[in-house]
């Protein structure tokens, strides 16, 4: 019954200087998973994504993405980074930014072709931003910008979308809207989202991994306070989403 595995990490170890960032981390992401990775700051969440992107080479362990070394799988992986600090006056339109997602497919020096433009159009339509394509990127609201960055990641034509704290820089109403967008996208994609927002993660994702240098839990989204405590090394209060019907964290 298992869907094919898109990402397979086995016994990964990553050191930053003397300090281990990841130890003995194994993780498998299957097609059509919507996986949330939670854990404290400095727990190695972003590092884990960088391993999948092939930007950080682990000292030990094996990484396979779409059955290949991660560097060779980049044109099938879309990435939305934690923060996008750019100048609000930056001379680029929504369209310019989305096309950047086609870089890996087009290749260095080559120009974007019709296929690239077609994919960019499709991606913008998917996030509902096609009508704003000619607007300057800095003129959009934070939530709209994040949609454009998701479109940029989508138009790489990825089977896998990696999101690093995608809601960190947008306000709470926009956050809900953003998660709803992910809900729609998850039917056609595999999504791995790193977040510190335990509440939101538990509502929207299908599987959860708790990471604090080591992997503390990986499985369905029903996590217990014990696991959270082990991950965060201190008691964590689960915030109840009283009226949300698909609230899933078990009462203990």
């Amino acid at each position: 019954m298992n869907a094919p595995a898109l990402v397979e990490l086995k016994d990964i170890r990553v050191n930053y200087g003397e300090v281990p960032a990841l130890e003995d981390v194994s993780l498998t992401v299957y097609e059509h998973d919507f996986l949330g990775i939670i854990g404290p700051n400095g727990g190695g969440k972003s590092t884990l994504l960088k391993v999948v992107l092939g930007l950080v080479k682990p000292e030990r362990g094996s990484v396979s993405v779409f059955g290949r070394p991660p560097e060779q799988a980049r044109n099938r992986v879309g990435y939305v980074s934690q923060r996008s600090f750019f100048d609000r006056d930056f001379p680029a339109s929504v369209w310019d930014v989305v096309l950047m997602g086609r870089y890996s497919s087009a290749g260095i020096v080559r120009r974007y072709g019709d296929r690239d433009k077609h994919q960019a159009e499709k991606a913008l339509a998917m996030v509902g931003m096609l009508e704003q394509r000619n607007k300057q990127i800095g003129m959009l609201s934070g939530g709209e910008q994040q949609r454009v960055f998701v479109a940029r990641a989508l138009c790489a034509g990825p089977g896998l979308l990696l999101l690093d704290e995608p809601t960190a820089s947008i306000d709470s109403t926009m956050q809900t809207e953003f998660y709803e967008l992910l809900e729609e996208l998850k039917y056609s994609l595999t999504i791995v989202m790193v977040s510190h927002d335990i509440g939101a993660v538990s509502v929207y994702v299908d599987k959860i991994a708790c990471l604090n240098r080591r992997m503390y839990y990986h499985g369905s989204r029903e996590i217990t306070p014990d696991i959270l405590e082990a991950t965060y090394k201190c008691p964590v209060q689960l915030i109840a989403h009283g009226t949300v019907p698909h609230r899933v964290l078990k009462e203990h």
């Binding site: 992107l53 092939g54 930007l55 560097e71 980049r74 990435y79 980074s81 996008s84 750019f86 100048d87 006056d89 930056f90 001379p91 680029a92 339109s93 310019d96 930014v97 096309l99 950047m100 997602g101 870089y103 890996s104 087009a106 260095i108 020096v109 120009r111 974007y112 300057q136 940029r152 790489a156």
Partner: protein
């Protein structure tokens, strides 16, 4: 005054009569060279200035320009064309700043300070060690667009063609590098190499601009036209084209003013550009305010 001493029309009458005299002067070779130099400088500063302003590396550019003085001194010392020396030094200091900031823990502005001062000090020492008098030194420091020799125009043309070539080939890459370096790294772009190449392009531009406004004022032509262009467009290509246009307007307008007012050309070009830029910034600010007031009402 530096700059006026080399002015071939020194003593020309101001005003309309002077302007006619200037147009008359167009038939002379030095005037045609000045026009060519102005045009080439506008193309270089228009394109690279946009990167400098958008990527916020104005002070790195200032550092490269001043470090080039070491090369000018070396040129005098070795008896070769000081511009060749400037080319070597500006390229070396550009790459030096790149390597120091990416491979060591020294902060970028510290690296700029070091190379800026060391470059200039080397220039002073080389010139001191050179026997006799260093001709045209003021021209390199403060610019002398009217005395650019044809051989230097050829060099400028080659450098400008290199800059255009790189920009056309790597336009989409530099849009990503300027907008979001982190994303570039994530999609596997050689971000660091592209950044070094950008520093090299800035170094080439500095060399192109030295003869027009002088190394001390190079930074003006790298920033004014791009800052001006930014107000009118949010497309990087259009910004470059507009910026080339404004660069040409500033150099030619400044040259004309220096003629009728009998002022040094390099400094007049900078002051004229600054004035137009300030007026345009003030005007667009006024317009946004009116726009907002209308919205509120």
């Amino acid at each position: 005054m530096p700059g006026t001493t080399d002015c071939p029309w020194h003593g020309a009458p101001p005003g309309v009569e002077g302007t006619l005299k200037m147009l008359e002067a167009l038939q002379y070779e030095f005037m045609r060279n000045a026009l060519m130099a102005g045009l080439l400088a506008s193309v270089a500063c228009g394109i690279v200035g946009v990167y400098v302003v958008v990527k916020k590396v104005v002070f790195i550019s200032g550092g490269i320009a001043h470090a080039a003085f070491g090369g000018i001194g070396l040129g005098y010392y070795l008896g070769i064309n000081p511009i060749t020396g400037a080319l070597l030094f500006s390229l070396a200091s550009g790459l030096g700043i790149g390597v120091i900031t990416s491979r060591t823990r020294i902060a970028a502005d510290t690296a700029i300070g070091i190379l800026w001062a060391v470059g200039m000090a080397l220039g002073v020492v080389f010139i001191y060690l050179t026997p006799g008098f260093a001709p045209d030194l003021m021209g390199y420091l403060f610019g002398s667009i009217l005395t650019v020799p044809f051989s230097d125009i050829v060099l400028m043309l080659v450098l400008v063609l290199v800059i255009i070539g790189i920009t056309v080939a790597l336009y989409k890459e530099y849009l990503i590098v300027c907008f979001d370096e982190e994303y570039g790294t994530a999609v596997g772009m050689p971000v660091e190499k592209l950044y070094f190449l950008l520093l090299a392009m800035i170094a080439l531009t500095v060399v192109v601009l030295i003869q027009v406004v002088g190394m001390i004022l190079v930074i003006a032509l790298l920033t004014f036209p791009a800052a001006m262009a930014r107000q009118f467009t949010h497309n990087m290509k259009s910004m470059m084209l507009l910026s080339v246009l404004f660069g040409f307007l500033f150099t030619m307008g400044g040259l004309w003013l220096s003629y009728v007012l009998r002022l040094p050309s390099g400094a007049t070009i900078v002051l004229f550009g600054g004035l137009v830029l300030a007026a345009s910034l003030g005007f667009s600010r006024l317009r946004t305010r009116q726009h907002e007031a209308k919205k509120a009402a």
